[in-house]
Symmetry: C2
Subunit: 291 residues, 2 copies
């Protein structure tokens, strides 16, 4: 986007890649897609996600910005032919929810690499999932380090701005710990709830629990009933931060359980008043982060 | 409702009581409200929740069905003047989310008592919260025991049907264990998540977590950020079942954590595939329960 002649390349046209393509295309920007299968390429053209699409990495030759919108395992083990096809003077960024392992993988592979993470819903996946305005008002966080080219970082900030995102930067380790706490660890907390309810041995109580489960249970169990590939990718690529967040979580739960065991209802009320007061701070979509 | 001449009494006009009033009134049924404060009585009349309202329990004298839509602490410690004002030949029911303590309290206080629990949202409270069709398609579960009059039970089933609920019956102990698993315990699981995130000691990570928290965190933390009075009432009135459900929960979480500790990603994938498969069983609003 820095040069009028160049195009934006998007590698992978799932929810994130496809949504970026739709928004850029609507702004008159030339978008070159790269996908693995020709059936996906056909659907992408049919849906109008990109200007052109190919299964051959050489299609990226004229891009001055390439967005790697790949699943975490593919991003952390990129095919050599993809790395070789990235123009040396292009800016390259990614969209994964972990950042330190991505920097470790990509800093040595491309001089114009910028690690970034648009925070957007992941309930749907695949070439049919992309939608307009997915990033509008959502955070987009980059994690530059000593190897990051400031000019390349500015190109990614411009991209985030075009898509309507709110721009943040942080150290990769801080990003990964924060995301472990508010996204990766909660998947396990939520999954454990489904597991416990599903393990109820009394068949009448289990049937009753299923029949009576209301919107509260639906909400609390949503992320734990999501895509298992994604859950494993998060836990395995951000393992230390997830284990640290889980330890903090277990300790918190024990404090609440302790109040119940001791029938200390004043203490439980104090705890639940505090969590009630804490929640709005995690819902503030206009929150500013100034490290 | 069994007699054309009688009215339905509703004690407490919060979300549940007010919503019942609105629906019955729309069906041409005479509804007598009883509330604690005259300001509440004025708002109830202004909102059209009832035909008439009073702060004097003797207003219930002509009711043949009385619904105790009181908070759990008040229901379990009913004022003597309220008990005395209930007509001896009326059917009396409640709407609380615990049933054994309610039976223990009320079976000796009124011969026509039926313990029941309409499952409906509790995000809002107070005299402004009542809304039409709150119970449409939602479960309404009664927990009759040896002391329950079958004719009284039939009157409450008729009430649930008029409001569009799906009718279930179960033993009170089964109800309380099931509700602990899908409603009361999840409040603590969800609150512990907010507590852990709020306790993050690194201020930059905490600020980042707040800024990046997305719809997944909002959903998982919703019930834990709710009304602390309600959370304490659930835990204290259903303590044993909540502790049992919490123990099952902690064990489930440990199994997931163990897979992460051991980097056993096949096992974690198996677990998350199972929870993904389990969740729809808890969302089936048409589920049938036939004990």
């Amino acid at each position: 986007m820095g040069r009028d002649s160049g195009c934006v390349g998007i590698v992978g046209l799932g929810l994130i890649g496809g949504s970026i393509g739709l928004d850029l295309l609507s702004q008159g920007i030339e978008v070159q897609g790269l996908v693995h299968r020709s059936a996906t390429a056909e659907r992408a053209m049919h849906r109008g996600l990109v200007t052109a699409v190919s299964t051959d990495p050489s299609c990226l030759a004229h891009c001055d910005l390439v967005i790697l919108a790949l699943p975490i395992p593919a991003l952390l083990h990129p095919p050599a032919e993809l790395v070789a096809a990235l123009p040396a003077d292009a800016v390259v960024t990614d969209v994964a929810s972990v950042k330190q392992p991505v920097l470790d993988t990509w800093n040595d592979r491309h001089p114009g690499f910028v690690a970034s993470h648009p925070m957007a819903g992941t309930a749907q996946a695949g070439v049919e999932a992309g939608q307009r305005d997915l990033f509008q008002g959502r955070p987009w966080i980059a994690t530059p380090d000593a190897d990051t080219d400031p000019k390349a970082l500015a190109v990614v900030e411009d991209l985030a701005g075009r898509l309507g995102s709110r721009w943040f930067t942080a150290a990769a380790s801080q990003h990964d710990q924060a995301v472990a706490m508010i996204s990766h660890m909660p998947v396990l907390v939520s999954a454990a709830l489904l597991r416990a309810a599903g393990d109820e041995r009394d068949p009448e109580i289990r049937a009753l629990a299923q029949a009576l489960a209301s919107s509260g249970f639906a909400d609390t169990s949503r992320v734990g009933g999501g895509n298992p590939d994604l859950g494993v990718a998060m836990a395995s690529s951000n393992r230390e931060a997830v284990l640290k967040a889980l330890a903090a979580y277990r300790w918190s739960l024990e404090q609440l359980e302790d109040a119940v065991i001791k029938t200390n209802w004043d203490q439980l009320h104090k705890e639940l008043s505090r969590t009630q007061a804490l929640r709005p701070g995690f819902l503030n979509t206009e929150a500013e982060f100034n490290p």
